[in-house]
Amino acid sequence: MYRYDEFDERFVRERVAQFGEQVKRRLDGSLTEDEFKPLRLKNGLYLQLHAYMLRVAIPYGTLSGRQLRQLAKIARDYDKGYGHFTTRQNIQFNWPKLKDVPAILDLLADVEMHAIQTSGNCIRNTTADQFSGVAADEVEDPRPTAELLRQWSSQHPEFVWLPRKFKIAVTGAEHDRAAIRVHDIGLRMRRNEAGEPGYEISVGGGLGRTPMIGKVIREFLPKDELLAYVEAIMRVYNAEGRRDNKFKARVKILVHETGTEEFTARVEEEYAKLDGPTVNAPLEEVERIAAYFAPPAYEDLPAESVTLGEARKADAGLDRFVEQNGFAHKQPGYIALTISLKPIGGVPGDMSADQMEAFADIAERYSLGELRVTHSQNLVLPYVKKDDLPALYAELKTHDLATANAGLVTDIIACPGLDYCALATAKSIPIAQEIAKTFADDARQKAIGELPIKISGCINACGHHHVGAIGILGLEKGGRENYQITVGGDATEHASLGERLGPGIDAEDVPGAIEALVETYLSEREGSESFIETVRRTGADPFKASFAGFIETRAAQEAAE
């Protein structure tokens, strides 16, 4: 893991002190509320429906046990005893008091953490593949790139007053687990014909009310030119992005309205003019950062563990857990594990302070002290020895952290929705809970297989519903909550947006509608196709038909009542 040096430390401490000053100047009237608001947001502090919310950055989703323990302390002392992991690998506290925020920021700084730029019209936390450094299909580890970008984007003098928020994601694997094509900038690490390292760069992806898939503007950028090229993109966006309408201010609209070709030309023109070598990080610095992410001291182990093999035969629960939540590791004898924060009936992404503390211990004992946060609101233990799995599983079970549903129909992404969010038009967490209950049966879930469902409580799409194999968007219609259903969304390297199936439905009908869609999939699927693969082959029509059938049946039932 990256460790702060004296400079990083000083930067974060000074930033905390600066925010303290800003709060004071708000209170003495030097700053108006309008002036203070963006400063507060750039320190991660939102005003929500019932209270302030503090969003803490977890750079590229990497945490140490020590850091998680500190988050547990904050949850216990300053919140209602839990935290909420978000779809951008961050954690939110929903109930801090304004007066406590400087103290919380100090506690974070004590463990090399911060809330800088987790909100506001600036470059947000850079996200990356949760299996970075351990995935068997990895070309190159994206974490050093993400860390370099974290530093470079922190309080960038030119780019803290952008037209709108700006999100960057990096992946270094063949399979995109970081959803890079729905980010403002998506970086895919690759090599050119000569075998030199670099990036494919896409710009203008994003969800929200105008969802778009990012366009590739550079097939290959040599690795050492990254910061200068990103600066060129940012400068074009800062100068030309729309500021007349906040709903049209994201870079995706600029790319769309300008045209990909013209936008690319403007970026390249800017790039040709700027003095790259003065902007780019020197090789020594890139290497210094990369050294922190060198592989840990793995033990020499046989690829298969006899201990685990026997334990799996004896314990069906363990067997199922490993099958569903295990992830192929680069290193023989090791496995990465997804720890689901989606117990049936729970709040997706929530974790109690007790669980955090227990899990910090677990990470230290079984995963070299490190854990990851995924954009699907789960956690990952990246360095588990297969031999240790039986003992680890037993411990996870005692803390209710052994739900074997990673990627399944009950592993639902849901934004906070009407339970917390000031912008929400509908509930999303209770919808997720009802769907999970409907499909709670293990055998049924397994038979359905991989099926990412994503729910947003309003058109802003924080639940990424556009890229859910099944997407659910909660709106308000005539004073009632109304849900639109889409199928065919995909956030991976096959990025695509979901297609709407028909008119919106009532909250209580959502689980039934999902069941109808699942039935359609089961009858249409060929061989071992997953839900999304079937939709990709058949198109949305069979699903539209069964959805229409479902609505008709429901209408008939209601008429009969």
Binding site: D5, F7, D8, R10, F11, E14, R15, A17, Q18, E21, Q22, R25, G29, S30, L31, T32, E35, P38, L39, N121, Q151, W152, S154, Q155, H156, P157, E158, F159, V160, W161, L162, R235, N238, A239, R243, K273, L274, D275, T278, V279, N280, A281, P282, E284, E285, R288
Partner: protein, 174 residues
């Protein structure tokens, strides 16, 4: 309006020309003697004797400004709102174009932006008096120095964190 530089408040040596009539008026001693001419007006009035000040919108193209760089000693970039960051990029581009005169950020900026403005190439800000009353010059000077380190190379004075790390490594290797 109040002009603030890193050294403190300064008397404004420029007076804004808002109409072609203004341009004809004799330079009084009261409000500053050099004309500050909006880019759009430059073609319509008799070009003042160099050097004068040029006032540009934050949407102005470099190509429109470039021909005048040699005859002006100050360029003021408009900030219609403090949250509109276009002026920062324009300043950066003007410096790159070789402008060595005074760069001024003109509009309702807040003290919290002073350091960023200077880092992007500005020398001073010119803020409405109502703002200066709420955020007196002392606050600007204090907020300017709240951060002693920055990551970005090529911005601001002093070495970036990346450069300081390099220097420390070289020192250690010696």
């Amino acid at each position: 309006m109040t002009v603030i530089t890193p050294e403190g408040e300064r008397r404004d040596a420029y007076r804004l020309i808002e109409t072609t009539e203004d341009a004809k008026a004799p330079a009084g001693n009261a409000a500053g003697s050099k004309p500050l001419v909006p880019l759009a007006l430059l073609g319509e009035i008799e070009t003042p004797e160099a050097p004068f000040g040029l006032f540009v919108e934050n949407t102005a193209e470099i190509a429109e400004i470039a021909p005048h760089l040699g005859s002006v000693d100050l360029i003021a970039i408009a900030f219609p709102a403090f949250s509109d960051g276009r002026g920062f990029s324009l300043a950066k581009r003007l410096r790159r174009e070789g402008f060595t005169g005074t760069l001024r950020a003109k509009g309702p900026l807040i003290a919290d932006q002073f350091a960023d403005a200077l880092a992007c190439g500005f020398d001073e800000v010119d803020i409405p008096d109502t703002m200066a009353n709420r955020q007196p010059v002392q606050q600007w000077l204090e907020m300017k120095d709240t951060m002693s380190v920055h990551y970005q190379t090529g911005f601001g004075e002093g070495k970036s964190i990346l450069q300081q790390r390099m220097a420390a490594r070289e020192e250690a290797a010696r």
